[in-house]
Symmetry: C2
Subunit: 300 residues, 2 copies
């Protein structure tokens, strides 16, 4: 099955202890779609300005990513400027320029409306809801969100969550959304809002998946080279949703495998700036690291 993703396409300026890059390809939809494209067809809904470089379009299209839903508007592309310290666990946002994203009013091309698998990346929950309304019969809907929306649009977010099957957020967002510090109790409260599955992303500490079948803990692979964590969460979502869309999902074990594939893809993203590592990834590299992940917590 194909995947629909709505999210940002951005030009990022990022500084880490290992270097600095300016106006490179970023945005949740970019990371998500490159990751998911290893498994299935991806259809993007987003907006870019007339300054968005043609080479980025070509890169995405060279991975068979469909950009019919990407509008090019007068003005500048969404820009983000961020900085990471040595622990690399959290970005400090220095600047955000929404630009053409400020008036983003996504209208799905007709041939997108029959797509079964939908990922609503971290944007305004009202826009996430509008996009979802345009999909005729979604079979599986996943979404991301962040502290900004939890605080500024809690009711709109809760309305959306009533229509979402899988929510993917981090530890702090899980606690804030539920108002509950103990993560197990927080998960239960969030699943009462709608999602049947909650995936708590913990960066270098892996990911937790909560479902009616219990808790699954996927480790993160300790890497030799960590350059830039930007996009790791969206890449995780892309690997996860790509795997789900391209396999016959029968039970929780299939979702567990999807979590591992999400972690695998994310582990490549952080090895280089922007989508550089994702863009040149091979199927063999993905499978080799999948095995390494499986071995990481294996006892013979």
């Amino acid at each position: 099955m194909s995947v629909l993703v709505v999210g940002s396409m951005a030009l990022d300026t990022v500084e880490t202890p290992f270097g600095k890059v300016e106006n490179i390809l970023g945005g949740s939809a970019s990371y998500f779609s490159l990751a998911a494209s290893n498994f299935t067809d991806v259809n993007v809904v987003a907006v870019v300005g007339n300054d968005f470089p043609e080479e980025h379009i070509q890169l995405l299209e060279s991975h068979d990513i469909k950009l019919d839903g990407v509008k090019r508007e007068e003005g500048e592309t969404f820009r983000w400027v961020g900085h990471y310290g040595y622990d690399l666990s959290e970005a400090k946002t220095l600047e955000t320029h929404l630009n053409v994203f400020e008036t983003f009013n996504p209208v799905l091309p007709d041939h997108y409306k029959d797509i079964d698998i939908v990922f609503l990346a971290n944007i305004d929950p009202e826009i996430q809801y509008e996009v979802l309304q345009q999909v005729k019969k979604p079979k599986l809907v996943a979404c991301d969100t962040m502290n900004f929306w939890i605080e500024s649009k809690p009711e709109q977010l809760k309305k959306l969550l009533g229509h979402v099957d899988i929510l993917m957020i981090n530890d702090a967002e899980t606690r804030e959304l539920s108002g509950e510090p103990i993560i197990v109790k927080a998960a239960r409260k969030i699943m009462d809002l709608g999602p049947k599955i909650l995936i708590v992303k913990r960066g270098e500490y892996g990911a937790l998946m909560f479902s009616k079948d219990g808790i699954f803990y996927a480790p993160s692979y300790p890497l030799e080279e960590v350059f830039d964590p930007t996009g790791a969460g969206d890449t995780f979502a892309g690997g996860f949703m790509g795997y789900v869309a391209s396999h016959d999902i029968n039970n929780v074990n299939d979702y567990k495998r999807a979590v591992i594939y999400g972690s695998v893809l994310a582990s490549f993203t952080v090895e280089d700036f922007s989508v550089n590592r994702l863009a040149k990834l091979t199927k063999d590299e993905i499978e080799a690291r999948y095995l390494a992940f499986m071995n990481l917590s294996n006892i013979e």
Copy 2:
């Protein structure tokens, strides 16, 4: 085989968001020995003041813990006052009173000197070394340390590590001891100092074990009730060393099982203040949680 532990026996005052307790049993040797006593004989080397309550001695002895190496001296017992915020990940030390611990000069009883398995809890590396010198033919030596010793006695610590098989420290200590931010590279540098195994304790995020056979990631069990993390690391060490001492250890898979048992024991400690939960733990509870841990990262 029996285990020898040298460490602190303390009276702790601890405040967490869930309550406050004063002058309760604490100290690395107390947590370690209660955890290890589920598996094997434990022989403690420590010092207490003449204010140390007889009920704590009785509690430890009721678990068959040997206290022949515990000196009772004139003066007050080591006291620690600590506070935890809502995230519970790191204690804020409010007061430390070394008291009788300040002049602690451990002398091993003769029948301790033939013990094979040694755990040197987090104390002055010079004292750790002195204790180790008194053991005739140690087969396996593990130790803990902390930022204070890494900064104040780096040479004494490095001398000790040349005689240590297993080092158990946390993420930040791993980075500080090695001077290397990437954990995989940090582990390699530390293993060059002597330890054949490095266990990086990550609290609620589990534990990583590095050895010549690669990396093992043991998850931490997401708990419904977390009251007080004090002693979790020492309990982990007790579960790990107790398992190792009581089993025929042939390869890395046996050490992996020991890591899981360490995590299992630690997961009980944090459910209540002091050693309260450890003190009433049953073998059945331990085995049930071991299975829960194994299931946590299992894919069928």
